[in-house]
Structures are given as C-alpha cells and as structure tokens.
C-alpha cells in the first residue's frame, strides 16, 4: 500500500515553493527594471555628450579675430567675446572666416544699412565684396570697443546690404568680418538647451530635457580650482569658464537628475600675443 504525504510535509514543500518562486520573481522584476532604466540612462549620457560637444566647440572658437590688418588678433583686445546673456545664458563672438575680412570704406551708423567695404590684406583679390555672402553673419567693430552683429541680405562688388543698421556709429577703417554670435541658454518652460543666432534672433533647440545651466567665469587659466570672477566687473578679463548643466530625471525618477560640468578655455582668449 502506497503511503501518501503528511500534512506537515505538504506544508513544508508549499512554503519552499512559495519562497523559491518569490525569490525568482523578485530577480526577474529587478532585471526588468534595470532593462528599462539602463537604456534610458545610456541615452541620457549620449545626448549629454553631444550637447556638451556642440557647446564646447562653439565656445572654444570664442574670440577668434582678424588675421591681418591693424586690428588683427583676438577680438578680446577690443571687446568681450564671451559674455553672460541677460536671460542667464552665455554669448560668444568669433570671426569664422579667414577670407571674408575687410574694413569700412565709408562711415556706417544707426541710419545706414549699406556698408561700403574696402578689402584688407586677407581679402581675396578676385572675389566680389571680399568673399562676403548673402545670408551670412557679419561682425562690425572698431578700436573703441563698439561692436555689432548684422545679417547680410545682399552683396554687390563693394557693398554689403544688412538687414538692420548697426547700433553704433563706425568711422571709415572700422573692421568688418564674417562671423558668428551665438547664445546658449536653457528654456526652462520647454526644458531645452537652446542656441540663439544673435544676427537673426532665431532659436535652435540643441537638446531636450535640460533643466538648468549656470556658468562660472574665471580670469585664471593656471590654477586648478580658481575662484570665479564677477563678469559684470571686468568681462574682458574672462579667460576660462565652467558650465554646469542639469539634465532632467526621466522615467518617473528612475533615472535621476544628471549634473555635468565642463571647463572650456577658449584658445583665442589666452593667446600669448607676442612670442619673443
């Protein structure tokens, strides 16, 4: 006669099964959660890298100036090419072309939207309007520190028609060069890192999911941990900056906030002007 299981044996085996199944289910659920969170975290990291690279490459160009003439050298000699913007961002100025660089042949000012240019030493001789082109941006500045950014509508052999006249009055001989003026800021409502083209005022989203950005400015490139300077006091002394961006948590907080800091020392702000 076959003997069956006792009640105690049944209860013990049931308890063992429940414990084992519970442990397995716990592992499976934890694994599922990791599988959901990790791709999101990796994606956040990669988007962060792309955004920081775009930001750092632009900021690294800050201050690149003319390649010839009496105003050759970094823009920082004449005006601040890295400045905090009123909306909490950072604005950078740089001359982007080695060829489209000239000087004004006549005066320009708030009522004059047509710039007459005289080629300078780097202006390609065979090129109309010194290689300036419609639809590009031009930076206008003089030795007094006055500077404007303008959008080119049309060009002729010797003139540039800009969309709006400059704010300053510029004398003959003031510098004109193709360049870029860009502001990086965070649109808190849209939670986006945004790049604004200051010549057109057009915003271009760079990255979604950015909550905040703050920038510290330094006048020292040697010390590892220098004290920030107040850019309102001496904006032309800025040599280095540290931007911190906070990337928003996602998946209901499963992927936490990511805070990333990047130091950028734009080479044109620290050029040793004279090598002896």
């Amino acid at each position: 006669m076959t003997r069956g299981f006792s009640l105690v044996e049944m209860l013990i085996s049931l308890a063992l099964m429940v414990t084992l199944t519970g442990a397995v289910m716990h592992l499976v659920l934890a694994g599922q959660r990791m599988a959901r969170v990790q791709p999101e975290a990796a994606d956040q990291q990669q988007r962060t890298r792309v955004a920081l690279q775009a930001f750092a490459r632009d900021v690294a160009r800050a201050g690149a100036g003319l390649d010839a003439g009496i105003r050759a050298g970094p823009l920082q000699q004449f005006f601040a090419s890295v400045t905090p913007s009123a909306d909490g961002g950072i604005t950078v100025w740089y001359v982007s072309s080695r060829e489209a660089q000239a000087t004004l042949a006549t005066t320009a000012g708030p009522t004059i939207a047509q710039l007459t240019i005289a080629p300078n030493a780097v202006c390609p001789p065979a090129q109309p309007a010194c290689a300036f082109a419609a639809g590009t941006t031009v930076i206008l500045f003089d030795a007094s520190g006055c500077h404007d950014v303008l959008r080119i509508d049309t060009v002729t052999l010797t003139t540039i028609q800009v969309r709006a006249p400059p704010a300053c009055t510029y004398a003959t001989g003031s510098a004109v060069a193709q360049g870029e003026v860009r502001t990086y800021r965070v649109d808190r409502a849209a939670r986006q890192l945004v790049r604004r083209d200051e010549a057109t005022g057009i915003d271009l989203p760079v990255l979604d999911g950015v909550d905040a950005m703050d920038v510290d400015y330094f006048d020292d490139v040697v010390t590892a941990n220098p004290a920030p300077v107040d850019p309102a006091l001496n904006v032309r002394a800025i040599r280095r900056l540290r931007a911190r961006m906070r990337f928003a948590a996602s998946l209901g907080g499963l992927v936490p906030d990511l805070i990333v800091a990047i130091d950028v020392t734009p080479p044109n702000l620290v050029l040793r002007q004279v090598l002896r």
Binding site: M17, L20, T21, V24, M25, L27, V28, G31, Q32, M34, A35, Q38, P39, A42, Q45, Q46, R49, Q53, R57, A60, R61, A64, G65, L66, D67, A68, A72, G73, P74, V95, S96, R98, E99, A121, V122, C123, P124, P125, A126, Q127, A131, P267, N268, L271, R272, Q273, V274, L275, R276
Partner: protein
C-alpha cells in the same frame, strides 16, 4: 511545473543580463571615444602652439615654405620629426604622411577660395609622446603643416612676403580619430633691430 518556472526565469534573466552587458560595453566604447576626441582636440591645439614656437626661431619663413625633399616636406623641418614619412602609428599599423599631405592639399584646393594658392608642407610629425616626453601614455600622433596665407599677394606659395603664414595641426588616433586646428601667425619686425616678434593672430578648430 517548478522546474519549468525556474528554467523560464533563468532564460529571461540571462537575456536581460546579456542585453545589459552589451549596453554597458557600448556605453564604455562611446565614453572612451568621447574622451579620446577631447584629448585629440587639446593635442592638436598644443601642436599648433609647438609649431609656432619652432617657427619663431627661424629668421625667415620663406625657407620653411620652400619644398624640401620630397616636396611634401618643408624646406626646414622642426626639431621634432620622425625618421620616416611612413612612421609606425602608436595604435598599430603605419601612417602615410605623404598621402595625408595630398589629402589636405586636395581638400584645400577643392574649397576654391580665391587668393594665393596654398601649398601645405610637413613641418613637424611625431607621436605625442615625443612632443611631450613624460610618463603619460598617449596613442595620438601629431602632424603640423605650414603654408603661406592666401593674402600674401605674391602668387608664390614658396615665399612669404607679408610676414603671415598658416599652421595646420592634426591629432590622429585609432579608429579614424582625426582632429584639426588652424592658426595664423605673423612676424613683426622690431623697431631698432633685433629678432622679429611673432604674434599668434587666431586659432580656429576645423570642423
């Protein structure tokens, strides 16, 4: 039934583990590439500065702009150069510096910018560890070319008449890593004699 549950759970966990491991490896690779690209940017910038420092020692830049032997070489080379134009790359294999020079020249010519023609000459080329001796290990190779600027106006890429030349520096790494920076430098005679001073006018990372 418990056996099936255990087998199923094991298979599921293995699949999840494998996916996470692959994701982790991908993430590590991306992070390494990002780090290497940043290092290469700094190295290219440093090569520009080193090239300028070497050039300032020369009394005239026309001697550098003249073709050497072979013609890809500058008439006078920097102190840091490899012994061959097909040197061993720090990451394995060999580099063909003549082909790189031809490629840079072709890219410059294709840009079609008016003005004087530019002719790139190899000025300095060596692994980063030779440019910056020290314990830090780096697998980057640095190349510095020089060319007359387009605004020279003499239509002779082998002679510098306006005192300005262009430096093109690249940092090369494994898996096609290549970062370039260009700088314009100018020599200014000193009133009352003495060696010219050299000004770094602009530094522009190349896209």
């Amino acid at each position: 039934m418990p056996l099936l549950t255990a087998l199923f759970a094991t298979a599921l966990l293995m699949a999840l583990g494998l996916a996470l491991a692959l994701l982790g490896m991908g993430e590590t690779t991306l992070a390494a590439r990002d780090r290497d690209a940043r290092a290469a940017e700094y190295a290219a910038r440093a090569a520009t500065a080193l090239g300028a420092a070497e050039l300032r020692l020369l009394p005239s830049w026309s001697v550098v702009l003249r073709p050497g032997t072979p013609s890809e070489l500058a008439g006078v080379s920097a102190r840091v150069t490899d012994s061959s134009l097909t040197p061993a790359a720090p990451w394995g294999g060999t580099l063909d510096l003549r082909a790189l020079t031809s490629q840079l020249q072709a890219e410059t010519d294709a840009a079609g910018v008016p003005g004087d023609a530019m002719a790139w000459r190899l000025f300095a080329y060596a692994p980063l560890s030779r440019f910056v001796p020290g314990p830090a290990s780096s697998r980057l190779y640095l190349v510095v070319w020089v060319s007359d600027d387009r605004a020279d106006g003499d239509h002779d890429p082998s002679a510098d008449t306006n005192g300005s030349i262009v430096i093109h520096a690249e940092a090369l790494g494994s898996d096609g890593l290549r970062t370039a920076v260009e700088a314009t430098i100018q020599r200014v005679p000193v009133t009352g004699g003495g060696p010219d001073v050299v000004r770094l006018l602009s530094v522009r990372p190349r896209p």
